[in-house]
């Protein structure tokens, strides 16, 4: 494969210009399988980057390396100035600054919705319960389900659960939000409500990396689109260039398959 072709106007980060996340020459192996090869990506503060690509292309693995749910084998990852290392305190620091939303929600089934949201601020940030509850209710209002606060995750619809998951991540006041296919496990009629929440979040200036198959979302919200295949970044560009005038054959093939 040739060097990733990069559009002139998309080489540089958008947003404020300071890098919030930097990945430099990142490699990741699962046994003999090379899941990521020489990944280079800089994401600016307040930038929204959407990652697309066929399944098995390493999209999820890449963002899971950023908060050390997977350990990268080579290269450098920097989040808000902190270099990710094997030191557990270092990892904890990065996880505190990084929220993550999963495909399968992963809410804590034994805790009420409100407790799901407030657990981390209370136990990690040592926030008093009353203050944490207040914050939790604010966030639940933001994702528009304050009335579900005392219910348990199992009593909510998928869309509601995913919005709770977003509120839970935001409760730690992260500087970066990672979304790992947040709408892939949802019934079609619930995708909209989750995407709306994410759009609001993007508008509020949150730095976001979103792995998704929702091309409409990418077109509307992304500052840049990253296309990955076979563990490599194939192409990076603004949504306009990306969808209307892709450079790489691999990208064209993918877009022709999904659009």
């Amino acid at each position: 494969m040739t060097e990733p072709e990069v559009f002139a106007d998309a080489t540089e980060m958008r947003g404020t210009g300071t890098a919030m996340i930097e990945l430099e020459h990142v490699d990741k192996l699962f046994g003999d399988f090379q899941a990521l090869t020489d990944i280079n990506l800089k994401v600016a503060a307040q930038e929204v980057v959407v990652v697309i690509g066929p399944s098995g292309s390493g999209k999820s693995t890449m963002i899971r390396c950023i908060n050390r749910l997977e350990e990268h084998d080579a290269g450098r990852i920097v989040v808000d100035g902190t270099v990710l290392s094997n030191d557990i305190r270092n990892i904890q620091e990065i996880r505190r600054e990084t929220g993550m939303v999963f495909q399968s929600f992963n809410l804590f089934p034994h805790l009420s919705v409100l407790d799901n949201v407030t657990l981390a601020p209370r136990k990690v940030r040592k926030m008093p319960k009353a203050k944490a509850d207040e914050l939790g209710m604010e966030l639940l209002e933001m994702v528009r389900i304050p009335e579900q606060a005392s219910k348990y995750p199992g009593q909510l619809s998928g869309g509601q659960q995913q919005r709770v998951a977003i509120a839970r991540s935001l409760a730690m006041k992260p500087k970066v939000m990672l979304f790992d296919e947040p709408t892939s496990a949802l019934d079609p009629e619930m995708i909209g409500e989750v995407l709306d929440t994410m759009k609001e979040l993007a508008r509020s200036g949150m730095t976001m990396i979103v792995v998704t198959h929702e091309m409409g979302f990418a077109r509307e919200v992304a500052d840049r689109v990253v296309f990955m295949a076979d563990g490599q970044i194939v192409e990076v560009g603004t949504p306009e260039h990306f969808f209307e005038n892709p450079r790489e054959d691999r990208t064209k093939l993918f877009l022709s398959q999904i659009l």
Binding site: L69, F102, N106, F108, P109, S112, S150, G154, Q155, M172
Partner: protein
């Protein structure tokens, strides 16, 4: 007219369910006859042929063994104290649950809640009443009466401690206080009457209670240790579990009874009952560890990932996310193990000569006035009833716990 309609309904039902084919009819008659015969035999044993005077005369021996007469008052006070403590705990926990919003404050009337308690505890209540009716002195009546009153008072006072906001100091005081009550009562009794003079069903209950309380945390530690990333911890825990599970409990009890003296100077060997508790604890902990490990493995990976992603430290991931789910998932197996432990306390009678209920039942058939009369049936039936009552109550309470903890999960 109603009656005939009813009767024909019953006939239709019987024909459909009991006599549908000739084979059905034959089976119905055979098993009906066997059932009737069994019921007749049971009833006649309980009410006619059974020589229950052996229980009546020895009731005290069966319940508390050779506990010295002079110190029985301490037991009475302990029972009353434990009742008050239990009531207080129930009220306290309920108030905490209401406070945290897990249980609605209103909506259940007093009558409904009393009915609920009745449904939960009718079996032990009936058995206690039966025991009281068998007793020939007023002492037990007074004890049970006072214990009931103490439990009610405790239940009414408990919420006052549970309702207000408890700071770290307040909760520490309450939890230490709640833990101190049973321990204090134990020392109150044991300083007067050495542990080895305890006996009867009381001893079974006490051995089981101690071992249950102690084996649970040990089992959790062993389960976590077996999954540890530190090789030394993992090897030690795995070796321990596999060694202990590989030996029969009876052999371990014999070892503790006989062989300990070969390795340890006599002055350091604890009393027989203490050794029994240690063996029960260490043995059950190994089984609990494997049950809990099963629970730990049943928690989806995504749960741990989510706990990591929100920044919880490894200890908190385990304490707040993994363990609560793991323990709830294996409640039936855990309670099964604890019931098994409770019943196995009878082995301590045979292996170590402790004067627990089963040993008492065989001993009293050798008393002068009952010797050679084949009364083992009566005494064993009594022992079985006692064990079954407690085991069945544990089982029912575990189902209740499971249901309550399963809120919104299924």
């Amino acid at each position: 007219m109603n009656a005939t309609a009813h009767r024909s309904g019953a006939l239709v039902w019987a024909r459909r369910n009991l006599f549908r084919s000739p084979l059905d009819g034959a089976l119905t008659i055979v098993f009906g006859a066997i059932s009737l015969w069994l019921i007749y035999k049971t009833l006649s044993f309980v009410f006619v042929t059974g020589r229950w005077d052996i229980i009546r005369v020895n009731l005290r021996l069966l319940m508390i063994g050779r506990f010295p007469e002079a110190h029985v008052l301490r037991l009475v006070i302990t029972v009353i104290g434990l009742a008050a403590w239990g009531g207080f705990l129930a009220g306290f926990i309920r108030a905490r649950q209401v406070r945290s919003g897990r249980v609605p404050n209103s909506g259940t009337s007093l009558a409904a809640r009393l009915g609920d308690i009745g449904m939960r505890l009718w079996l032990p209540a009936v058995v206690v009443l039966l025991l009281l009716l068998l007793s020939s002195t007023p002492g037990p009546w007074i004890t049970v009466g006072l214990a009931l009153i103490a439990a009610i008072i405790g239940r009414l006072v408990g919420p006052f401690a549970g309702r207000p906001k408890l700071g770290p100091v307040g909760s520490a005081v309450v939890f230490v206080g709640l833990g101190a009550v049973p321990v204090g009562l134990y020392f109150y009794v044991v300083t007067a009457v050495g542990f080895d003079d305890w006996g009867g069903f009381m001893l079974n209950l006490f051995l089981a209670a101690c071992a249950i309380v102690l084996c649970f945390p040990l089992g959790i530690l062993l389960a976590l240790g077996r999954r540890s990333t530190l090789p030394l911890v993992r090897v030690v825990c795995t070796t321990y579990i596999e060694l202990v599970r590989g030996a029969p409990l009876f052999v371990l009890l014999l070892l503790a009874n006989v062989a300990l003296g070969f390795f340890v100077p006599d002055s350091l060997v604890p009393s027989t009952s203490t050794r029994a508790i240690i063996v029960f604890t260490l043995f059950t902990a190994a089984y609990m560890a494997e049950i809990i490990r099963g629970g730990l493995q049943s928690v989806p990976r995504g749960q741990i990932e989510a706990a990591k992603a929100v920044g919880l430290s490894p200890v908190r991931q385990t304490g707040y996310i993994v363990l609560p789910q793991a323990l709830r998932n294996v409640i039936p197996a855990q309670i099964g193990q604890l019931i098994s432990l409770f019943k196995d306390t009878t082995l301590a009678g045979i292996a170590m000569g402790l004067f627990e209920l089963l040993n008492v039942t065989t001993a009293i058939t050798a008393q002068e006035q009952f010797r050679g009369q084949g009364l083992i049936g009566e005494t064993i039936t009594f022992a079985a009833l006692m064990f079954w009552t407690v085991s069945f109550t544990m089982s029912r309470e575990s189902q209740r716990l499971e249901k309550r903890l399963g809120v919104g999960v299924r």
